[in-house]
């Protein structure tokens, strides 16, 4: 069992006042709350914070903890409580924190913060697990199955449970941002408490060609300057194979063309937007240069008219 320095977790001095502990908790809770935070490993940090706060906010538990710290507890080092150590108790802890406590906390204070907590006298529901599933646009388009392995998050003492393997069916047209609830597949409860739920959050994996907004896809389509001027019939990719697209004459760069219903499958299906990108050749042929020189000499077009007389 590793010693956990709760003062370090909360970023406070060991002589912090109860007010300072509360203030530090509130500030860090806003920073690391998994529903709000974009900080890496926010969920893990929030759980550690909850455990540290439960240990330090209660005067009885804090006094006990300080005693053990003086007894020789060092952060992350192997730690065994003094022989005959008995938790003295303190106020009950927040049940939402209790299920996540490390063995270190449970060993010192009892699993639910009560002296007999080690025997799991209390029943608390297990914590929910949140997991992001990256779905490719092709999978979202056609549906499919996927096996995912969920590694559990280590608690403060570095303990993890074996990974859970799930086979997941991805329905056709699934949208990013959707959340899927799998009842009872979260963390186990304490005592006879029910297990938590597992939530899968669907995200689209970045695609080589398309960006996606809800069910609408956007494709950046490179065309030549003469295709932009004269118009052209070109073949473009979609998620379900290639289609013909007519580029209207006199199309400016970044012109957006819409192909109804060619986006992601669904009811209704999304649209495909094609954004024109005018690309010039890196090394034009001699003949191309010759023709363009003729054009340059004969053209009266002034794209800088709006800038005024220069």
């Amino acid at each position: 069992m590793r010693f956990v320095d709760y003062y370090e977790v909360m970023g406070i001095a060991p002589e912090a006042t109860p007010e300072e502990i509360k203030k530090a908790y509130r500030k860090l809770a806003r920073k690391y709350h998994p529903d709000v935070s974009k900080v890496a490993h926010a969920e893990e940090k929030f759980k550690q914070l909850g455990e540290a706060y439960e240990a330090l906010k209660d005067p009885t538990r804090r006094a006990e903890y300080d005693e053990l710290r003086r007894y020789g507890g060092r952060s992350n080092e192997e730690f065994t409580p003094p022989p005959g150590w008995q938790p003295r108790g303190g106020q009950g802890v927040d049940p939402r924190h209790a299920a996540q406590f490390s063995d270190f906390f449970a060993e010192i204070f009892g699993r639910d913060g009560a002296p007999d907590g080690r025997r799991a006298s209390a029943d608390w529901p297990g914590e929910d697990i949140h997991y992001s599933v990256q779905v490719t646009l092709e999978e979202a388009q056609s549906g499919g199955t996927r096996t995912i392995s969920l590694a559990s998050q280590p608690n403060l003492a570095g303990e993890t449970s074996p990974p859970k393997v799930l086979k997941v069916t991805i329905p056709q047209g699934i949208q990013a941002g959707r959340q899927i609830r799998l009842k009872g597949q979260g963390q186990p409860g304490l005592g006879s408490g029910r297990p938590g739920d597992l939530f899968l959050h669907v995200e689209y994996a970045p695609h080589r060609l398309f960006t996606v907004d809800k069910r609408d896809l956007t494709l950046v389509l490179p065309i030549t300057p003469w295709e932009a001027i004269l118009g052209a019939a070109v073949t473009i990719p979609t998620l379900t194979g290639s289609v013909k697209l007519t580029i209207p004459p006199n199309s400016q760069a970044a012109r957006k063309l819409r192909l109804g219903g060619k986006g992601l499958a669904g009811d209704p299906p999304g649209d495909l937007y094609v954004v024109l990108q005018i690309v010039v050749p890196d090394t034009p042929t001699a003949r191309e240069r010759e023709l363009l020189n003729t054009l340059a000499q004969e053209s009266q077009f002034n794209p800088r008219a709006a800038l005024g007389d220069l």
Binding site: R26, H33, R96, K167, V168, G173, I174, R178, V220, Q277
Partner: protein, 111 residues
């Protein structure tokens, strides 16, 4: 290990609507709390009377998220409603930003 098999339901289509009592039961929150969430626009069910309310499947997550935030950050209801609105707005802006960045990257790569 043999994988557990699950059917993933896209809430946009296959997801059915939940009654207020189902939301309370699944999320383990009181009726008063769900009613207060509706009053402050945190949840927006279909239907006018409490017994006619029908919540889309996303409400389950929204309810849990709201009660977690309310509890963990000690928020009052107007503060909670504001925080959730802003979070949603930020998520939308992030998505838009990511898309625009990806499109710009394609433009400059191809050019």
């Amino acid at each position: 290990m043999v994988p557990h098999e699950f059917l993933v339901i896209d809430f946009a289509h296959g997801g059915r609507a939940y009654t207020v009592h189902e939301v309370c039961e699944i999320c383990e929150v009181s009726l008063e709390r769900v009613v207060s969430f509706v009053e402050f626009g945190v949840l927006t069910p279909q239907g006018n009377k409490l017994d006619d309310w029908r919540f889309p499947a996303q409400s389950i997550l929204q309810t849990r998220r709201a009660s977690r935030l309310q509890h963990d950050l000690e928020l009052d209801l107007p503060g909670l409603a504001l925080a959730l609105e802003l979070l949603e707005e930020i998520a939308g802006l992030r998505r838009e930003l990511e898309n625009l960045r990806a499109q710009i990257a394609q433009f400059t790569l191809g050019g």
